[in-house]
């Protein structure tokens, strides 16, 4: 009886070891794609890489950073690249993010498909300017009860070349809420002229991996890895009136744009509408009032949707859309720059279009 049991255990164990060995061999041979070539933008850059990883990660290892807000899980749809040759068929996990036109142009989600053969791809040239930076937290400041301003001093490389309004990706290391590194995108709030540091305004999202890390774990002196800059939300060159609208941490890119205007001596008429619920949700008011003195034709218009009695508020009231509707007349020739939640952006775009600003002159950074 004992002998039979021992023989059975030995057979099962041997079988398990054999299968495990088979899997290791299979992984090393079948799943070994060897070295493959990636040609970017008609051969302007060429890399020989080891196959087998998602394109997003493979490019990242070559220090080519494709924007991604979900850390490569296929849930943000940002990391699109055009695949000219190779790459196989579009995967079911990519389809929800791709329009019919994009599918015809073989646009792919670079986080979803693995590099198994040589590829020819096209990416925007400006992504070659994106770099990874080691930074040190120089200052953390409370702006409101749930928004912090984080100033990062660049260490290596020591300078960044960004346009006002662009964003970076902030790397969250492993900590209590995550057992792997994750990236989240945040707009720069600092002036591009100070290229040795970046400022971010980060609002606490309940259970948010990055925002919880920043609000509850990050300390001055900590090292933070970022990469960037990304994005096409920036002030266009023109003499048109600029109408800026933001709420909450949407303040960040607008502040960066205003500081840039000051540095460059841009004197075009600018009105900035900022929506908050009550006085406790307003921030950087002094800085905005100071800009009213230094920019030649700038007006800051904060508005409270539900001012509290203790606020003693005599400024504009109502939802920011109501304020826009009341205050804006004859703005058909203006440009608009918006940053905030999708609901806010959609509602504001509707008001601005009703007032005569065409789609092509409404620029926005939507948190969606």
């Amino acid at each position: 009886m004992v002998t039979t049991l021992l023989i059975s255990v030995t057979i099962v164990t041997s079988l398990a070891v054999f299968l495990a060995l088979l899997m290791v061999i299979a992984d090393a041979t079948i799943a070994n794609y060897g070295e493959v070539d990636i040609s970017i933008n008609d051969g302007s850059r060429q890399y020989t890489v080891r196959g087998g990883k998602p394109l997003l990660k493979t490019l990242g290892e070559q220090e080519i950073f494709i924007p991604s807000a979900c850390g490569g899980r296929g849930s943000c749809g940002l990391c699109k690249v055009q695949v000219v040759k190779g790459g196989g068929s579009i995967l079911p996990t990519e389809l929800p993010w791709l329009s019919e036109e994009e599918q015809q142009d073989n646009i792919r989600l670079s986080c979803q498909f693995k590099v198994k053969e040589s590829l020819e791809i096209k990416i925007p040239e400006e992504l070659f300017l994106v770099k990874a930076f080691e930074t040190k937290v120089a200052q953390i400041r409370d702006l409101t009860h749930d928004i912090k301003e984080v100033t990062l001093q660049l260490v290596d490389p020591p300078e960044i070349s960004a346009k006002a309004g662009q964003f970076i990706q902030f790397q969250v290391p492993e900590y209590e809420l995550t057992d792997e590194e994750v990236y989240r995108a945040y707009s720069l709030s600092s002036a591009p002229s100070d290229s040795t540091k970046v400022e971010l305004e980060i609002r606490l999202v309940p259970n948010g991996i990055c925002t919880t890390y920043v609000h509850k774990y990050l300390k001055e002196g900590d090292t933070v890895m970022i990469n960037g800059p990304y994005g096409d939300f920036y002030l266009r060159e023109s003499d048109r009136e600029a109408i800026c609208v933001a709420g909450g941490s949407g303040m960040a890119p607008i502040k960066s744009i205003l500081l840039d205007m000051k540095d460059k001596g841009i004197s075009r008429k600018t009105r900035y509408f900022f929506g908050a619920r009550s006085a406790g949700d307003l921030f950087l008011i002094d800085e905005m009032r100071e800009l009213e003195k230094t920019l030649p034709d700038f007006t800051f218009i904060p508005a409270l949707s539900e001012p509290q009695p203790e606020d003693d508020w005599d400024g504009d009231t109502g939802l920011i859309t109501d304020v826009l509707d009341r205050k804006l007349e004859n703005i058909q020739e203006a440009e608009a720059y918006l940053c905030g939640s999708p609901g806010m952006i959609d509602a504001c775009v509707k008001v601005l279009k009703d007032k005569g600003i065409p789609d092509e002159r409404i620029f926005y950074d939507k948190f969606a």
Binding site: C70, N207, G247, G248, R277, E306, P342, G343
Partner: protein, 156 residues
């Protein structure tokens, strides 16, 4: 309880790193069927339905959307904020729909308590009676939802 292969497949989709970093089950080592049965029992015992709870969640989500990303007062003693982070998520239960990462915070000022949920949660509760596993960072306690959102008892 033994569960069907389909539920087993769904449970696999709920593990960390498949759809979301944390997954949907937390430290709950029970089968999905057991998680569903326990929460279903709680909701029934309290005289509510998953559909009624989901409807109330949706009500605050829609009312809060009018606040354009800031808190807004709803029905006198609730404060609601609806905002978003970038991206959409599929449901581990399957189906073609993707759910925007829309977050709703509802504060009940009379109770001085708040709940937080996403659009995906509304789908979970409405269509599957699923509130996530115990220890999941996004777990919704049905009792807490019923209390804070003031969901009246219905004829089950």
């Amino acid at each position: 309880m033994k569960q069907s292969p389909l539920l087993q497949q769904i449970q696999e989709q709920m593990k960390p790193g498949i759809i979301t970093l944390d997954g949907f089950l937390g430290k709950d080592t029970r089968n999905l069927i057991d998680i569903l049965i326990e929460d279903d029992g709680t909701v029934r015992r309290l005289g509510r339905t998953h559909r009624a709870i989901a409807q109330r969640m949706q009500y605050f989500r829609d009312a809060g959307y009018a606040g354009l990303g800031e808190f807004i007062t709803v029905d006198g003693h609730f404060e609601v904020r609806v905002d978003s982070v970038r991206g959409k998520l599929p449901s581990p239960f399957g189906g073609p729909q993707l759910y925007w990462k829309v977050n709703t915070v509802v504060r009940n000022l009379e109770l001085d308590r708040e709940v937080f949920y996403t659009d995906l949660h509304i789908h979970f509760v409405r269509d599957h009676g699923f509130y996530e596993g115990k220890g999941s960072p996004y777990r919704l306690d049905p009792v807490e939802l019923i209390d804070v959102l003031e969901i009246p008892a219905t004829n089950v």
